[in-house]
Subunit: 418 residues, 2 copies
């Protein structure tokens, strides 16, 4: 079952708005066993809409459109679809009552443009909008379906979840699409590919495709099976392949599906009733930000210090001045001292210490820009690692922060065994 | 001059990744006078790529592609373009040297898959990638241009800004488009629109269009002139309109073009040889992260504390326990005490204190979720403000952090006059 998505709006084309609807729809359709083969963004222009609709309906059994259904003059989608499907507009009383009540509740006057939103093509199935004023429309042509919905994300999402997806599922006998995503950190895409080359080659026999989805410091591995065959067998293949993969590279897998490293670490701390404090230099508070982006993080994150100068490292955190002089501020020794000190000062079970040179200035031959030393301290001892993360300041901050949380994850698991 | 964008990647189609490249490219092309008429997302599949490339090159003079250029087996774009343009791969020595040096600097071994990334179609112009390993490719066919770039945002953005946009401008002699963007904070979009309605109406006479670009806590105002006419007159119109706007709403304009509030504040501090320290509770280090995202911020940012628990606020920052009991931890009094204490402890000229409830839990009737108190302290006294920023945790952290820096900006300017 193939689908296409058409998003209408100049604000998308000029980059004023990021197209989050396409991602939401792609995910929703995919999970329902409908494979999105193309996504298109076009202008709210009758010619562009007509040609795109025609093209997509020939190629795909399901076409989902968003946008262009507002009450203003530049919203032309409804009239264009009316032309395309040989319709005329008729007043939909249910929609009219809903729109009038919607405006009444908000103490807004009911304008003629709002009323006109209840005039809908006579040969479509109307999808009521319980969160806004623009109705959705379900058309069929040669057994193919076109659904048009407003572009407001929460209006569109409600219509999809409550009416469109269930209707598509019942109309078509959908194959069961299976995905499994495992999240890795600490090994680059090409090294990972080399490490798992034989395993990757073995996926074809089970009709599973693999995708590498890299982001700074992390690579997601997604296995996909596009339906057909016995679903119990597919589930078994997935389980076996995942287990094989975990045997190969298990210690760099930090999570699955929509996990984040901060969420994973938070859950590990919460489960063990442990606490954490951070001492950040070059990451400047980003580790704290990642941790506190997770709701409920106050249960395990006590806080930390951003020690951006040597004087503050000494005066506030208590890192001895002579150690900084002896080892240099970007050194494993100072990262370790920072992790130890913040753990003690904040009475936490784990301490993270990070010192480095984010750049673009300040590097030397011995300690180039991008050098970062990260330490994790606990009562079981210290872990520390020095790495060179490259010349982009933003990327170094991102990657170092994620690596720090991943080292913490490994230390929590290591101390489990102590 | 019409363009289309093709983004390649299954992660986009299934909604695992939101397509931010399309928005960035739409904006970049639009600013250069190239109108994006369609954006397509397709699978990394040779047939899909071939048919889409062919279709777009017939319809548009410029086709910009991203994605599918990684070193792994699921990256098929280069070979597919090679087929389409009747090419064969030849080793590009500059690219090979760059890739080898890229891996060497990172102390990584050079794998054959990396080396193969330097094998490129013989009949394309190679666009070197100074931030990663996958080169870009510039092809021409019947006077139309197709550019293929990697999907990693910062790699693609550098290639576009440094090579692709300037090359398109010179190849197609593009009209001179003028933009001027002013950045405001603290006033909502509709309120702003009302305040500047007369001024906005006056723009038409100078053939200037206005766009409102809202983001959490901030609204960008962009004036655009789409070419034609005397360029000296256009420049004069822009200068006069900008000056009029600054007279109307000057104190909420914090910057222009690509400024960030952290960069603006940093420059103000640097120019005055002043220093800053931060005490963050609900923002959890995000203010520190924004400040330290600016290269050279160590010249004025001393660091701070993330005091995520009451105990840490008292023990480490020195906020009296009885004040927390008396006023509640989310109060103007505690925000002020935090700002004062961090300024003194870190011997800084300015201190920022932030305390609030990011949610989703923890609110009360008197102090609902989203309540944030922000204070700025200096030797000239304290500024403090309490606001309710809504129910989204992520948005509250973002907006509170930006507002804190904007209050600091105003305090720096206020103390100039003291």
């Amino acid at each position: 079952m193939l689908a296409e998505i058409i998003c209408i709006g100049d604000e998308l084309l000029i980059g004023q708005t990021i197209n989050t609807n396409a991602a939401w729809l792609g995910d929703a359709l995919n999970r329902s066993g409908i494979q999105v083969q193309r996504v298109h963004t076009i202008s709210d222009d009758p010619q562009a809409i007509l040609s795109m609709v025609d093209e997509c309906l020939l190629r795909s059994q399901v076409v989902v459109m968003t946008g262009g259904l507002g009450p203003t003059k530049d919203d032309l989608t409804k009239h264009t679809l009316c032309d395309y499907f040989g319709s005329h507009l008729v007043m939909n009383n249910e929609a009219l009552e809903r729109i009038e009540s919607f405006m009444r509740v908000r103490q807004l006057p009911i304008l003629e443009v709002n009323r006109q939103q209840a005039a809908l093509p006579h040969n479509c199935r109307v999808i009521q909008n319980y969160k806004g004023t623009a109705c959705g429309m379900w058309f069929e042509k040669n057994g193919h379906v076109l659904v048009s919905m407003p572009g407001v994300p929460y209006e569109m999402q409600a219509m999809m979840s409550e009416e469109v997806i269930p209707s598509l599922q019942s109309k078509f006998a959908l194959p069961h699409i299976t995905h499994r995503t495992l999240l890795t950190m600490g090994v680059g895409e090409s090294f990972l590919a080399e490490q798992i080359a034989d395993w990757e080659n073995s996926l074809a026999a089970a009709d599973i495709k693999l995708a590498y989805l890299p982001s700074p410091g992390s690579v997601k591995l997604r296995m996909s099976h596009y339906g057909g065959g016995d679903s119990a067998a597919v589930a078994e293949h997935f389980a076996r392949k995942e287990s094989e993969l975990r045997q190969l590279i298990g210690d760099c897998i930090y999570g699955q599906e929509n996990d984040t490293i901060a969420g994973v670490v938070g859950q590990l701390l919460r489960d063990r009733n442990l606490t954490l404090a951070t001492a950040e230099s070059c990451t400047g508070g980003h580790v704290g930000h990642l941790l506190t982006s997770i709701p409920g993080s106050s249960a395990y994150y006590k806080g930390g210090m951003i020690t951006y100068t040597n004087a503050i490292k000494t005066a506030q955190l208590g890192v001895p001045e002579e150690e900084i002089a002896q080892f240099g501020v970007v050194s494993n020794e100072i990262a370790t001292a920072m992790a130890q000190q913040i753990r003690k000062k904040f009475s936490a079970d784990f301490g993270i210490g990070i010192t480095g040179i984010a750049g673009p200035d300040g590097g030397s031959e011995a300690t180039p820009v991008g050098t970062v030393c990260i330490s994790v301290s606990s009562s079981y001892g210290e872990f520390v690692k020095k790495e060179v993360l490259g010349r982009s300041r933003e990327r170094t901050i991102q990657v170092a922060s994620h690596f720090a949380l991943n080292y913490l994850r490994k230390e929590i698991l290591r101390t489990d065994a102590c």
